[in-house]
Symmetry: D2
Subunit: 91 residues, 4 copies
């Protein structure tokens, strides 16, 4: 990852960590189940956004380098990895 | 939530918090993007499991009480909330 | 399902069937892959909407009847089924 | 798409079309709502599998050609399109 992407992802991860701690407090204070479920969905949306940012950086760096390179196995490998990301995020 | 569910959810949230901190370290140490994306998906799966546990408890408690109760507006409200959960988790 | 819901779902299924045939033509005519993928996502969104309509009807009918009824096993069964729907739609 | 992929996708679309007609019959015959919802999920899984097949072909053809090519705008465009696919399938 380039330094800007990396800094942005770390800030987002810290924000998610704070959000998860907030949900722990909600549960401890017996807040309404449906509100807890909604906050968990908000964390998931933030994580999906993060995956998009990382994938975008990856496509511009590793994937572009591999596909422009001369190693057909490495080209195949990066494509397989993208397909793997699609598979785990779209079960 | 009953006390057992509550304890279980809090432990799972603490585990997610640790997992998210682990992902921060992965990013700081420049680990491979695809591995970071996979770990984020693992966190999302843990959060989805937690939503299921909370929803199951909610159906057995609040929803059952409301539907067996005599207030038609409250009955309608709990059904609308379940539909809301389905909608936010299945966009 | 009540008759109105049933009629609506059947019309939506016929519309999905037409949409799927349209995608077949797109593939036969070698239209751009990304456009085909987008149309498949549109069909999936229509199917998710249909699941919501059916689930909403089900909660207002079978589930309400079972939960207001006197058979604890049947009550448990309808809740398990809702959890099953949540699980298959949120893998 | 290459001819083999194309043939496979068309067969899968025909199978989905038949599956959707089968679900129409289920609804007309008043089969149990939960079973209808499950069949709709099965169709969605088949459609997701199809998107994967098309995306895999696309990465091996258009995307590889564009990224190995000399037009930086076209390179950027194919990456944006992959990100678009990720976004619509992971809302």
């Amino acid at each position: 990852m380039n330094e800007q992407t990396k800094g942005g992802v770390i800030r987002r991860l810290q924000s998610v960590e704070g959000h998860v701690r907030g949900i722990q407090r909600m549960v401890e204070e017996d807040q309404y189940c449906i509100d807890v479920i909604k906050q968990i969905s908000a964390v998931q949306a933030a994580l999906t956004k993060m995956q998009q940012i990382i994938l975008d950086d990856h496509l511009h760096s590793c994937v572009t380098t591999a596909i422009r390179g001369d190693d057909p196995e490495r080209r195949e490998a990066v494509i397989d990895e993208i397909m793997g990301v699609f598979a785990i995020t779209n079960k």
